[in-house]
């Protein structure tokens, strides 16, 4: 199936293109999500920050070519995914393996979960589940991890993930299924 966003309403296209005219606002609105996605994917704060800068630099340079066939967020995520893939291909960066070995938690301990559960036990259980998901994400293949983070952290639709990754929707679903299944198995094991 060909992935296209051409069927989006014209108003969305117009909004997307108009949104880019104020680039400072684009940075303000989307930089946290791009940085968060790169940080969660790479688990290297400095690299995530550098790639975020690079992402917005590329976007700035390419903004006149943006026709609004996808939302600005999807477009930025596509640039971020491409940058990340370029880094993965470079020989000097075996970062994921290194990151998985040395900086797995990076301060992400599950304590970021908001309080409000019925009991301290339920809260502890929820935090432990979040930690299991975080650790399992590190063990996923790159594509599985990318679609998993885009779906469950960035809350993007399958169609948007397909546009951001350049994959077909069916392929996105297949990667997502494997990622979800792996996470659920780990969760069952941890119970």
């Amino acid at each position: 199936m060909e992935t296209t966003l051409a069927a989006e309403p014209a108003s969305v296209t117009e909004i997307s293109v108009a949104e880019l005219s104020d680039f400072d606002a684009v940075v303000r609105d989307h930089r946290p999500a791009v940085f968060r996605f790169l940080l969660a994917s790479l688990r290297d704060r400095e690299l995530a920050e550098n790639l975020t800068q690079e992402c917005f630099l590329r976007a700035y340079q390419a903004r006149r070519g943006f026709r609004g066939s996808a939302s600005v967020r999807t477009w930025l995520m596509r640039i971020a995914v491409n940058l990340m893939n370029d880094h993965r291909k470079s020989a000097r960066l075996r970062f994921w393996r290194r990151a998985a070995e040395t900086s797995l938690d990076m301060g992400f301990t599950g304590d970021w979960l908001a309080d409000g559960r019925s009991s301290p036990e339920a809260e502890a259980s929820a935090r432990e589940q979040v930690r299991v998901v975080w650790r399992t994400a590190a063990e996923l293949s790159e594509r599985q991890r990318t679609v998993f983070l885009l779906r469950f952290v960035e809350e993007m639709e399958i169609r948007e993930i397909a546009a951001a990754t350049g994959l077909q929707e069916g392929t996105v679903k297949a990667h997502l299924f494997r990622a979800v299944d792996a996470v659920r198995r780990k969760l069952r094991e941890s119970e």
Binding site: R31, W112, K173
Partner: protein, 149 residues
């Protein structure tokens, strides 16, 4: 669809894949609906925690972000091109004028030389022999001196 959703079908559901009749079954089966909710909760909690963590980790913008530097660089480049063009004009104008002057001098010299050559060619005898030419004229039968002999 027969029976409740299997673990694989629940993972498929969470990945956006719907088996035949699954949606209708979930709509009618409270157990499967509850199981789906239970299965999706850790993923939703993970998203919430990641977004909170990401917000706290997001660094402040650098004093001059790269795209801002690019914007400034582009303006500076345009200025540099304009200055370079002006400098080239300033250098080129005198050189052009000097070149034109040299051409004019060469043209005048050529004209003078041509005039000189023309003068030389129009003489019937070289300059040192011109007195002899006058003598020949003097002794010519058609000449004034000859007729007097």
């Amino acid at each position: 669809m027969n029976g409740h959703l299997s673990p694989v079908e629940i993972s498929e559901w969470l990945a956006g894949i719907r088996a035949d009749g699954a949606e209708r079954h979930v709509a009618e089966c409270a157990d499967c609906a509850a199981e789906l909710e239970r299965a999706s909760a850790p993923l939703a909690q993970f998203g919430v925690a990641m977004r909170a963590w990401g917000a706290a980790e997001t660094p402040a913008l650098r004093a001059e972000p790269l795209w801002s530097a690019a914007r400034r660089r582009r303006r500076f480049t345009a200025l540099r091109v304009a200055l370079a063009a002006a400098a080239a004009l300033l250098v080129a104008a005198p050189v052009y004028r000097q070149h034109q002057r040299a051409l004019e001098v060469a043209r005048q010299q050529d004209e003078a030389l041509l005039e000189q050559v023309q003068a030389e060619v129009s003489r019937s005898a070289p300059e040192p022999m011109q007195p002899l030419e006058k003598l020949v004229e003097w002794n010519s039968p058609t000449g004034h001196a000859g007729s007097s002999q």
